[in-house]
Symmetry: C2
Subunit: 429 residues, 2 copies
């Protein structure tokens, strides 16, 4: 396949003419397609339909004997702790099971640090400056939380092994204003990067200048593999154990949820952390609520049962998601990468494929898609303050549309990438 950069001006103009007529066809077709939403498809949600019927009203007690329908048990029922610990690969005593959204836990962790400080440290609201490190591209909703609290966000480039750890160490170990870092360690949002063992160990070996520095370890996709083959089911070291072994047991909060296991809007979530952090969290949590929804916690335990049950269930998701991801990767490879006008990392799990266009093209591609009826996540969204310095990152979410719709959307996307790339290349030909 001929690289666009190697084409003459005339060849590019001819290619543009062909593509423009294709694009007009899309416009005339009046499409309404969406690759923006990192949401499970209805078919995926229906995999958990039986969970709605698993409680029949007679089994309403936790193993502790407590009635799950009533008030109390602020940190979650025991069997839900066990289930979430198995999923997040840590110990049940390190777990607090919460409500339907791990994002809400993360927000609350920041909000509590802001109002009350962390284990006796100065509340962040009393400090001149609080900074967070933000590996980029990353999850827009993480960045919105820190932005809401006026926390200064610092971009940390991602590598195929995780965040640039030289830079992380430089900031964390020297700047006492750096209070945290957002991490999605497995199948990262949006690149699908799995942190290497060395990256995880370097995190645990951090020597923060700030006593109240915490790693916000959002293990959102811990069991979200796309492949059945064990060697493709990527593993990472347990950050809690690594931090404890490094003598910093309190340095990390890990988050997880069943949002993309059972129901995206009605799952259960958990934070896993040291005993001391758990005690600190519970001090304020018992003021904030009498308890989370334990009926839904029990519903999850009865339905998923244990780690084996989760793994089995996740393979049903994988069977629905894999063809979509493979189709996107194939088409991107054949149409875009082959022409030297874009790149992406192959992913083994998670919910996204992160496309890198030529510099300065991302916003234009998203706008062209939009005009042809295909909605993408806004360019810039995976960066703090919505600012992509290279204007080149586009997050593709293949999960929600049916595969034929996804194919149509991708056809439009490919044409838009090509058109945008040609315009960019023509600037210098």
């Amino acid at each position: 396949m001929k690289q666009y950069a190697a084409m003459s001006r005339e060849e590019l103009l001819e290619e543009r003419e062909n593509l423009t007529s294709l694009y007009k066809g899309f416009e005339e077709a009046g499409l309404s397609l969406n690759m923006a939403r990192g949401k499970p498809s209805p078919s995926q949600l229906s995999l958990a339909t039986d969970m709605l019927k698993v409680l029949d009203g007679d089994e309403i007690k936790s193993v502790s004997g407590d009635d799950v329908r009533n008030y109390g048990i602020v940190d979650g029922i025991k069997e839900a702790k066990v289930l979430m610990a198995e999923m997040m690969e840590c110990d049940p005593e390190n777990i607090i099971v919460c409500g339907n959204a791990s994002l809400n836990i993360m927000y609350d962790m920041i909000a509590r640090s802001y109002a009350f400080g962390v284990m006796g440290s100065t509340p962040w609201c009393r400090l001149e400056k609080v900074k967070f490190l933000c590996p980029v591209p990353g999850y827009d909703r993480h960045f919105l939380v820190t932005q809401d609290f006026g926390i200064e966000m610092i971009n940390i480039p991602m590598t195929p092994d995780g965040p640039d750890m030289d830079m992380v160490e430089q900031y964390v170990n020297n700047d006492p204003a750096v209070k945290g870092i957002w991490c999605v360690p497995k199948y990262s949002n949006p690149q699908g990067v799995v942190y290497s063992d060395e990256t995880v160990k370097r995190f645990a070996a951090l020597k923060p200048a700030a006593e109240d520095f915490r790693i916000f370890w959002d293990n959102a996709y811990c069991v979200h593999h796309l492949y059945e083959e064990p060697e493709k089911q990527r593993k990472i070291p347990d950050i809690l154990k690594e931090c404890a072994a490094a003598g910093k047991p309190d340095m990390v909060y890990e988050f997880g949820s069943t949002s993309k296991v059972t129901f995206a809007g009605a799952g259960i979530s958990a934070v896993a952390t040291s005993a001391a952090n758990i005690a600190e969290i519970k001090k304020h949590l018992t003021v904030q609520t009498i308890g989370f929804d334990k009926v839904n916690q029990l519903r999850h335990v009865k339905f998923l049962k244990d780690r084996a049950g989760i793994d089995e269930h996740m393979m049903k998701h994988a069977a629905l998601l894999r063809p979509k991801f493979e189709m996107v990767e194939k088409e991107l490879n054949e149409e875009i990468v082959s022409r030297g006008i874009g790149t992406f990392l192959h992913v083994d799990g998670g919910y996204f494929i992160c496309f890198n266009s030529l510099k300065g093209c991302a916003k234009d591609i998203v706008a062209r898609c939009k005009a042809a009826g295909v909605t993408l996540t806004g360019a810039g969204a995976p960066f703090p303050y919505g600012k992509d310095p290279d204007d080149s990152v586009i997050r593709i979410a293949p999960s929600y549309p049916e595969i034929n719709e996804l194919k149509k959307a991708l056809d439009v996307f490919v044409v838009c990438v090509k058109l945008s790339s040609i315009e960019k290349l023509l600037e210098t030909k």
Copy 2:
């Protein structure tokens, strides 16, 4: 019945001797009874068993067409707004439906005001002093929230018509540090007081010195009547409408939940307030969460259906609760009030009976009960900082125990009140 205060020292000593032998009997019986918890009984919770089965997996769409299992709709599905509006007697457009606990909404409202201010006002964390008015006796969890944020709490005495409004007006209209007041306007916790129409209207007519003053109107017991007779089902004016009519539409946040309608740990909750406040709340709420549990919202709508369904369901609760409340009131009247050693207000709804002992006896009574195996809410709990200035208020929660257990607990309580009162009276005889 002879009043204790009218007895001679000898008579009191003889009475004490008789009571002491009764008390020893209780001690030897090894009781383990509890009148502390404002929790529904298992029988009450079982009234909602069918709610667990009401979703069969095929009906998973909101009237809006949105899949309730998926992400989104941060302010709640439309039909849940309608249901909660019918329950709280306001308009659906004034409603945000949230998670399983209205306490959590109240906490978040304070937390947001603390971090971000209220509609552009100075964040409370940047102020020297923030004060809240606390009608007493009141709900201990309200006071714990304000205490957690270092807010100074000021006691406002309750009257049979609601808080002492002269005092409320004095504080609110003159002190710009007074940012809020906690109210439980119907069947108040713990006295069961129903605010009079005049009280509600005087609330709406407040002219706060602080632009960010808000009434925290916890309408926790809005449909929690103990009697079927319409004239005993107490009504209060709609505070939202009253405030709007008074030109202060933004002055009130109203809270409600189904915690004591369906499941105490797995209900749904809502905040009702002005359009401007709703917009302000959603600004941060969309950062905090992608949405609350809409499956549970739909479950509630399918089960309760509408206001008529709620009313019918609440009468089933009333049938279970009424005999307990009436038994407590009868025994207190016959054994305690008749002897002039305690008072209480008759209640038509809610979850508590508030007992007033002779001054200086409450802690002692609670301790005596405890030693005989009967747990009561800690004396002082219904007051800010746990300090009852008169040491006379004891909150009795008749809902949870079965009636024969409740009777036993009350027998102990009565003897303890008598013994404690005699000791107090003997001090001056």
